[in-house]
């Protein structure tokens, strides 16, 4: 996968060769190559308005690629965050303390809702709503989420009644309600104008929108397709900010975060990726157009739109002009599309045929990653990947080690998951995203969380947060789990 991207970058670099070294487009792709997606996206986005028509097309393509990578990463971070938040908040809720947090119920309800545990989530919101000391604006906020649960439980009328009864003007709740209306396509209110109302209100009082308002507004903008508005909003947002700070007694302050932020960022970047790739695919330059269409087909496939992917991908599968790696990657995507479209037999036959080809690590890894992602039973991919991984730990085999690590993480075989991912890790730079695929690092951090090696996990996120500040929510929750779980004697030694 990474190799393919690097080839793409090389092609793009060649295309940009006529531009100066400090050309933003070139710098953007260099940042992308270092996995600095946030920086790359910011640079390229600003470059869009300044660049001429030729560069604009290339910028679309570059932005599409950067957002594609960012969307995949945030999706993984979102899942990692849910697991850590549930772990932390459950322990926090269970902790016997004289100064018990009130908001733990609210945030536990939120994250359980994200995890699809609706009955449990509703129970926590109910407890929060029953608490007489909770201020009305927070109750209104919790009511919005209760409505969401009703919706998810297939009781839309109940949700509608609940929401229509709310008299909301406070920006945080207003945007939460807007996001809820937008999410379920309800027409009785206009989510975008609700967001505008909230932003105007804040502007009048000279306040910045809180991080949860930003998260909600992004959701609304993304669903409405006003991607640029979402991106603009993010330019000045502090993504490491907490959603709520609760001071309970002297020297006891708890900060709460919400995984939904990561979900909304993933969704925004996914849409942004498809939008910019589509724009790039519409240009006259055949080379750029082809490349954009290629990635667009992969993007559609990856983001669960196999029909759209299939419309484009066939031409790449047999294209003699494409390097073999590109062709093979397209074949894997085609097989996955077939599987998702209900043609399981055809998909497996395609995977089988691909495994008959020369055993290239990237190809076997691609197949195994795809099978793991969609829970496709295909043991031969594991066998082939294992055989390749036994050949060594150098960079050539990185991809199979990662794929096997992810496979075993999915199987809950954590020791094996760790062994493979560690084998694929660049140990000279073990936590740096410039040297390791951030997706692999997130998986490794997840594994270390599950095996209670919190410090290893925290180290990964510490490094990652420098580029992706929204990771802070995972760090803080994991620190909380670690502080409660650690069992040690209080030792320290010099060396």
């Amino acid at each position: 996968m990474r190799k393919i991207f690097l080839i793409c970058i090389l092609i793009l670099m060649q295309a940009f060769v006529s531009y100066a070294v400090d050309d933003p487009l070139k710098r953007g792709m260099q940042l992308y190559k270092k996995n600095h997606y946030e920086e790359a996206a910011k640079l390229l986005y600003h470059h869009l308005s300044a660049s001429g028509s030729k560069q604009q097309a290339e910028t679309y393509l570059s932005l599409g690629l950067v957002y594609f990578a960012n969307a995949k990463l945030y999706r993984e971070l979102y899942h990692a965050s849910i697991a850590v938040q549930i772990d932390y908040l459950t322990k926090l809720y269970a902790a016997d303390s004289k100064s018990q947090s009130r908001f733990v119920k609210f945030y536990l309800g939120r994250v359980l809702m994200e995890a699809g545990e609706l009955i449990e989530a509703a129970a926590f919101f109910k407890k929060f709503l029953e608490d007489e000391k909770v201020q009305p604006q927070y109750k209104a906020h919790a009511t919005v989420h209760m409505g969401t649960i009703y919706f998810l439980q297939g009781k839309p009328d109940k949700a509608r009644n609940l929401w229509s009864g709310l008299k909301v003007s406070e920006p945080r709740t207003l945007t939460a309600l807007a996001a809820a209306y937008g999410r379920y396509g309800l027409k009785e209110k206009n989510p975008a104008s609700m967001c505008r109302q909230a932003l105007d209100q804040l502007k009048q009082t000279g306040k910045h929108p809180s991080i949860d308002s930003i998260s909600n507004i992004i959701e609304v903008y993304t669903r409405e397709g006003t991607i640029e508005q979402g991106i603009e909003l993010l330019q000045h947002a502090d993504l490491k900010g907490y959603f709520q700070e609760e001071t309970l007694i002297k020297n006891k302050v708890i900060r709460f975060y919400d995984s939904a932020l990561l979900r909304n960022l993933a969704m925004l970047y996914e849409k942004a990726s498809l939008k910019y790739l589509t724009r790039a695919a519409a240009v006259a330059d055949e080379k750029l157009k082809g490349l954009a269409q290629y990635y667009l087909s992969l993007g559609y496939g990856y983001f669960g739109r196999p029909e759209e992917s299939m419309k484009i991908i066939d031409s790449f599968v047999s294209s003699a002009r494409l390097p073999i790696q590109f062709q093979n990657k397209a074949k894997v995507a085609q097989a996955v599309n077939n599987y998702l479209l209900g043609k399981q037999k055809a998909a497996k036959a395609q995977f089988d045929a691909l495994l008959q080809l020369k055993a290239e690590p990237y190809l076997v890894a691609d197949i195994l990653l795809a099978c793991t992602r969609y829970n496709i039973e295909f043991p031969q991919a594991v066998i082939n990947a294992t055989a390749l991984a036994q050949k060594g730990e150098d960079r050539r085999y990185y991809s199979v080690n990662f794929a096997l690590g992810r496979y075993y993480l999915g199987q809950k075989d954590y020791p094996r998951a760790t062994t493979y991912m560690e084998a694929g890790r660049d140990k000279s730079n073990k936590n740096r995203i410039e040297f390791n695929d951030p997706l692999m690092l997130v998986d490794l951090a997840k594994t270390y969380h599950l095996t209670k090696k919190y410090s290893e996990s925290l180290e990964i996120y510490f490094e990652m947060s420098k580029q992706f500040p929204a990771v802070r929510q995972i760090q803080v929750a994991m620190q909380g789990v670690y502080s409660m779980e650690q069992k040690s004697a209080g030792d320290v030694k010099i060396f």
């Binding site: 926090l92 902790a95 303390s97 004289k98 100064s99 947090s101 490491k240 309970l248 007694i249 020297n251 006891k252 302050v253 708890i254 060594g392 730990e393 150098d394 560690e422 140990k427 000279s428 730079n429 073990k430 936590n431 740096r432 095996t451 209670k452 090696k453 919190y454 410090s455 290893e456 925290l458 180290e459 510490f462 490094e463 947060s465 802070r472 760090q475 803080v476 994991m478 620190q479 909380g480 670690y482 502080s483 409660m484 779980e485 650690q486 069992k487 040690s488 004697a489 209080g490 030792d491 320290v492 030694k493 010099i494 060396f495």
Partner: protein, 539 residues
């Protein structure tokens, strides 16, 4: 008569059952072979081999092989029985009763019969540890204990002054034999026991060679079953570069801390495994606040502004790890993520020094009231890798640019420890701390921890820090403790008793012939009795 006989038989049976069973040479039932030797490379020799007087990692690793605690902590972070086979905790969390194993013997000294481990040893250990004349950094950690009582030969009861968080884990302290130390009241580094210890652990000290190699042999009577590997040999290397080569040429089987320069070479070699194991350490330059020039916070902060830590990290350690801002490692639960490291700003450094009353003399060196800002920097020779030499040189050059004169001195490890921890003869020192999971900095920064062989070597004292440390120890609330630690981080970062540097990648490297290797993230050898070498690879 028949009835009497049966009663007698029953009494005899009961007596037999109550007698401690003589430890048998037991093998493990995991089916893995015994045999083979493990030579491992260390970056120095241990100061002492007992768990009470030592405060360095080299000693810690050896004591982990020699001794046991009442409880242990397994790979899943669960507290498991060790010398205590079970325990009871009173409802209010103040009374801990431990029921001890009856099949544990102390390593036998030559010509002596094995002696059974009993409750007396536990009480002896506690008493000797807490004796005012015993020099140990452990004391501060066990002040929460009010008293210890022997209930019978195989049961002891600890009463705490107050319930504390995570108390059970603290009973993992290593137990010493009552018949071990020469002085039965307190333990000093002069006691022969600290160099010739006996324990209950999986390995026994055989001898220390003229080359200062520490040779440990398998304890045939180990209560968890004989460890698989016959011999552990700790080999000290003054030069870390040579240690890497020794591994590559099979002269040793394991390096406990791989030199960063060697990581790519070892990773690329199929014969070896690299395993990360401890993220909770950091390097620093520590200041001696007894020196009036360094007692001024502005001067200490100026030093931190004056040096470009990121450049040093990138140039000498290939950027392997983050710059840190305070007294915890980034992998710790206590790290305050809001506190950012001070930036490199030599102009700000000069401003601070000027504000503190210094001005540049004719030779370019800052001076105040006629006294030059000329300071000594002491670095242990065990740290004398090429990279550390460069760090020290760079530190000297950076400070020179703002008018501070540094004289760097590399000293042998034990002599360095005496200068820093006993005589306090230094201005600045370079070292690293390694923490277990607790993030307990009380011994490092509490003012009560200033003194001979105590960890607050720089005599840092701040009433607010003291008060927060005490509050942190008293609380039973995890979140409160977290908040306090965040505050401590911010406060100590501002006080700047150290120039905090970085956390580096810690990897153990070992030959693949070693199997079932699980490494404790802090104590390293905790699970080593399970390690084995296949017969075909024993040599």
């Amino acid at each position: 008569m028949k009835r009497l006989a049966s009663v007698l038989l029953m009494v005899l049976f009961c007596v037999f059952m109550m007698m401690p069973t003589t430890a048998m040479a037991a093998t493990k039932s995991d089916g893995n072979p015994d045999g083979g030797n493990l030579n491992y490379g260390e970056y120095g020799r241990p100061a002492t081999l007992d768990p009470i007087t030592s405060n360095d990692m080299i000693s810690l690793r050896i004591t982990e092989l020699l001794f046991n605690g009442l409880v242990g902590i397994d790979e899943k972070q669960e507290i498991v029985p060790e010398l205590a086979e079970r325990w009871e905790i009173s409802e209010e969390g103040k009374v801990y009763t431990f029921y001890l194993r009856q099949d544990v013997t102390w390593h036998a000294r030559e010509g002596e019969d094995p002696v059974f481990f009993t409750a007396d040893d536990v009480i002896f250990t506690y008493n000797i540890m807490m004796h005012p004349n015993t020099i140990t950094p452990l004391k501060v950690r066990y002040e929460f204990i009010e008293s210890v009582t022997k209930l019978d030969d195989y049961a002891v009861q600890f009463t705490l002054k107050r319930p504390i968080l995570n108390a059970l884990a603290k009973f993992s302290f290593k137990v010493l034999p009552k018949h071990g130390p020469q002085n039965s009241e307190f333990l000093t580094r002069e006691d022969p026991f600290v160099q010739q210890p006996i324990g209950t652990g999986p390995y026994m000290l055989k001898n220390i060679t003229a080359d200062r190699e520490v040779i440990l042999v398998a304890n045939e009577n180990y209560f968890k079953g004989r460890p698989h590997i016959d011999k552990f040999i700790a080999r000290p290397f003054a030069d870390q570069n040579i240690m890497g080569q020794a591994l590559m040429f099979n002269a040793i089987d394991m390096i406990v801390l791989v030199n960063h320069r060697d990581i790519p070479q070892i990773q690329g070699d199929k014969r070896f495994v690299l395993q990360p194991y401890n993220a909770l350490s950091y390097s620093f330059f520590g200041f001696n606040l007894r020196n009036p020039l360094l007692a001024d916070k502005r001067v200490r902060k100026a030093f931190t502004y004056a040096i470009n830590r990121q450049e040093m990290l990138d140039s000498f350690f290939q950027g392997q790890g983050p710059i840190i801002s305070g007294p915890f490692a980034p992998g710790s639960w206590a790290y305050n993520l809001d506190v950012q490291p001070l930036p490199y700003d030599p102009q700000k450094a000069i401003e601070l020094l000027t504000e503190a009353g210094f001005s540049k003399g004719d030779d370019g060196i800052m001076e105040k009231d006629g006294e030059k800002l000329s300071l000594t920097l002491k670095v242990p020779i065990a740290k004398e890798s090429e990279a550390v030499k460069r760090v020290v040189l760079a530190f000297k050059n950076y400070l020179n640019k703002v008018g501070v004169d540094i004289e760097a001195e590399f000293i042998e490890w034990l002599a360095w420890k005496e200068d820093i921890f006993l005589a306090h003869e230094f201005d600045i020192m370079f070292a690293s701390w390694v923490f277990d999971d607790s993030a307990d900095i009380s011994s490092l920064f509490h003012s009560a921890e200033v003194g001979s062989w105590k960890n607050n070597f720089g005599a840092f004292s701040n009433p607010e820090v003291d008060s927060l440390i005490v509050e942190s120890k008293l609380t039973l609330d995890h979140e409160k403790r977290r908040t306090i630690n965040r505050k401590l981080h911010a406060l100590i970062a501002d006080e700047n008793p150290y120039t905090f540097l970085w956390t580096l990648t810690n990897y153990a490297g070992y030959n693949k012939k070693l199997r079932k290797v699980a490494i404790h993230p802090y104590k390293f050898f905790s699970f080593s009795d399970e390690w084995f070498i296949p017969r075909s690879e024993q040599r």
